[in-house]
Every structure is written in C-alpha cells, then in structure tokens.
C-alpha cells in the first residue's frame, strides 16, 4: 500500500536505530513526550521502543481523544441518551469510557438509542432520516476532528436541519502542552508533535514552545520510520543545543496548515474553558460552539441539571497523562482496572496509555527498559 508499506521498511528502521544508538552513546537520559494518541499506538504496535537506545525515554501525553474526555461530559451524554426522542451518535471507542456511574455501552444495552458513527456525516444522515428525533453527535477530539464536525454543522444549517446537535468537548493541543510545561511536574526535553493536528493547524502553533520553553518540537507522521526519524531530529537538536519547530511530516503537513479547515473552526467554534480528564480545567483550551451557531449546541438546546461528576478513587490517569508516572505505578493497573473493566479512561481506548501498556508491554522487555530508564 503506497505511502504506508515503504514507511515500515525493516532495513531503514534498523539503519535509523543504529544512527540513534551511535548519536546517544554517552549522553544523559532524554525524555520525549509524544502528545498524540495515534503516535502512542504506533510506538507500541511496532515495538518501536526496542529500536531505541536505553537513554531515550518516550512518555505518552494527553492526546488520546477519549482518554481526556471528562466524567462530566460523559455524564451529560448519558443523561441526554435518557431524554425522549434523542439519538446519540458517537465514535466507537467512546462507548466504553466510564463516566461517574455508567458507560454509554451500558446505557445502550439498557435501551438507550446510541449509534456508532465513523464521521459527523453519518450523524447528519441520521438527522435527515429521523426528522422526529434529535440527533446529538458527541464531539470529542482535537483540531483534527473539530473541522469535520464544523463542516457538518454548516451543512445542517444550509439544509435547514434543525434536529442535528453537537455536544462539544473539542480541545486544542497548544494550550494543553503549555499547561504541561507550566505544571513544572515533569522534566521534558522535547515534544513529538501530532501529525494530523498539524495538518490542520500548521506548524506555528508550536513556536512558543521552542522559543519560550526552549523545548524542541518535531511534527511527524504515524508510520514507524516517521517516528524514528523524528526522534533522530530531536536528538540532533538537543545535541546541537537548538530548540526549533521542525517538520518530518513534510508530505502531509504544510507550514500554514489547511486554511479551509481553519476558517471553518474559527467560524463555528469559539475558545472556551474545558475540562481535561486528569489535567483539570485548562482555560481557553476548548472549542465551544459559537453564539451564532447555538441552535446546534446540545447543551443550549437541551439544558440539563446534573449532579457534580464523581472521580474514580485511586485512579492516577492524571499523573500518567502528565507523564509523571507510568501505568505500572498505578495500584489499580492490571488489577481492578483492565481493558475488560476499565476504571480510568487511559485503559479504554486502544491508544490510551494504560491500554497500550497492558496490551503490548506488560511483562515484556519494553517495560524493563522503561523502568531501567526511569531509575537511571
């Protein structure tokens, strides 16, 4: 498959690995955070850590869309599913995420009308086919997914579809990265920046990180060779004492991003304060539906009063997401909390920190490397 198989080439991967090993000989530990959940998944899927020198430590950031979705958002979604004439339309992996008391999957088996969608356009189609129902699309994700939902809202407006609503918990990456850097809790040397977010936003959103926090940023794709090359670029920056925003994903991400998608984002959404599971409320890091489009805002059209959300006792998803702790340090990990019965949402999505650890790294060599790196 073009532009996929070539980026999984064994010989090239081994060559990149060797180059990294020779560059890293004798230097102190480098901590690199991959912000995006898609990168986390690829790193584990390909066993990429086995190709890295022991003094490179990869940490997973807050970029798995379902992992950072708050209990309060899920509680609201479940409450909506119990309202008359409401159909909930959701991305598949959100269904297993626990809210305060239940999951959407459990609500579905109790009779809630909850449908899995692949695209906001599927939800729009539901709205056309069910004029007597209100379709609430659960808007989770980052700058990548938000424009696709903005496009659906625009289309609903153009068609005069009044029964298409969005419950928005969209988030933006730079504010979260800033919050992480300012929390002072973690000593990060560099960021692997999300590929698809950058395709939309362009590269300038990371400038302040390189400039003000002296932290190198490299935008990269989702294939293993992309990630290895990005790590190589980061190590070179650190060795040269540079901190700039570099682009490894030149085949897809343009410096200025996708202007059409950005225009849609600006028109439909407005910055808002939003809660990130594990990180709390980060001011200005959300994309709320702007006043001009509030007829499509589920929270405005169907306002509900709910009890305050209840957090899971003992769960350290927050620290894990901030990269302060690794999943194996959690008391619940692989015991009370496992993919079959997830407590924190890091265990829910395939790309969640804990799920990927559970699935790929538990008891394996990778964990050993991680622990060695952590104590050295």
């Amino acid at each position: 498959m073009k532009y996929m198989t070539e980026f999984r080439n064994f010989a090239a991967a081994q060559a990149l690995s060797r180059e990294l090993h020779s560059l890293c000989t004798g230097i102190k530990e480098i901590k690199i955070m991959e912000v995006c959940g898609g990168h986390t998944a690829a790193i584990f899927k390909y066993g990429l850590r086995d190709l890295l020198p022991p003094n490179i430590r990869l940490m997973s950031g807050p970029g798995c869309p379902v992992c950072v979705t708050s209990n309060s958002f899920l509680d609201y979604a479940m409450a909506l599913s119990r309202e008359p004439d409401v159909i909930i339309a959701s991305f598949g992996d959100l269904l297993r995420v626990p809210g305060s008391h239940s999951t959407l999957l459990a609500e579905k088996s109790k009779g809630g009308d909850i449908r899995i969608c692949y695209s906001s356009l599927d939800a729009l189609e539901l709205a056309r086919k069910n004029p007597s129902k209100k379709i609430v699309f659960l808007g989770i994700g980052f700058e990548t997914t938000a424009p696709t939902v903005a496009a659906a809202i625009k289309r609903a407006e153009a068609e005069g579809l009044k029964n298409f609503l969005v419950l928005s918990a969209f988030k933006t990456m730079p504010e979260a990265m800033k919050a992480l850097l300012q929390s002072g809790e973690l000593a990060l040397n560099a960021f692997i920046c999300p590929g698809h977010v950058s395709v939309v936003t362009g590269l300038r959103i990371y400038d302040f990180i390189a400039r003000d926090f002296k932290t190198p940023c490299v935008v990269t794709g989702f294939e293993p060779l992309d990630l290895l090359q990005a790590i190589l670029m980061i190590v070179r920056q650190l060795k040269d004492g540079r901190s700039t925003v570099e682009n490894q994903y030149t085949r897809a991400a343009l410096p200025l991003g996708n202007p059409a998608a950005q225009a849609l984002l600006n028109e439909i959404f407005a910055p808002s304060d939003v809660e990130w599971r594990g990180l709390g409320v980060i001011p200005g890091s959300g994309l709320g539906i702007s006043d001009a489009y509030q007829a499509f805002d589920a929270q405005k059209v169907i306002p509900l009063q709910l009890e305050p959300a209840r957090e899971q006792p003992g769960c350290i998803c927050g620290s894990i997401m901030r990269g302060v702790k690794v999943p194996t340090e959690c008391k619940l990990f692989a015991k009370a909390c496992n993919p079959e019965n997830p407590k924190g949402s890091c265990m829910v999505s395939d790309e969640g920190n804990c799920a990927t650890y559970y699935k790929y790294a538990r008891n394996s060599r990778t964990t050993v490397i991680e622990n060695e790196a952590g104590t050295s």
Partner: protein, 81 residues
C-alpha cells in the same frame, strides 16, 4: 489513500483495494490519482509526493550506508537478521 473519483465535494478513495466515500470539501482542487490524508470521513490534506519521495530517499540512503558499512566490516559481523 488514493483518490479514484471526484464528484464535487464527494470522492471515492482507495487503500489496499478497499474503496470508501470521503468528503473532499477541505481539499479543494484535489485530483484523481492524488493521495489524501483522511480523518473521520474527510480528506484533510493532499500528499505531496515529491516530499514523500525525498523522505524515502533519506531512508534508502541510510539503509544503503549501513549495508555498505556492514559489508566493509567483513563477514565477522554477520547478518542483522
């Protein structure tokens, strides 16, 4: 994914012989035969094939250098595999 058809803002794309409809409204001007990055039913960018080739050439060059170095180091190193 490779673009097979463009009909206004709707297109057919293909990967590994699997075809699906995608929305092309965010990549105006995309042509049949080009490759696009697709997310949640929308094409978000058109792949720059020259850039892809450049990146792949860097990888090929690195792999070749390693192979040459191994060959030069003689048979004592043995194969990586």
């Amino acid at each position: 994914m490779k673009v097979l058809e463009v009909n206004g803002t709707v297109g057919q794309v293909e990967i590994g012989g699997v075809r699906r409809a995608v929305d092309l409204s965010l990549v105006a001007g995309v042509k049949v035969g080009q490759f696009v990055v697709v997310h949640a039913g929308f094409a978000l960018s058109v792949t720059d094939e020259d850039e892809a080739q450049k990146t792949l050439e860097i990888f090929a060059e690195m792999a070749r250098r390693v192979a040459e170095a191994d060959a030069a180091a003689g048979s004592k190193a043995g194969s990586d595999q």
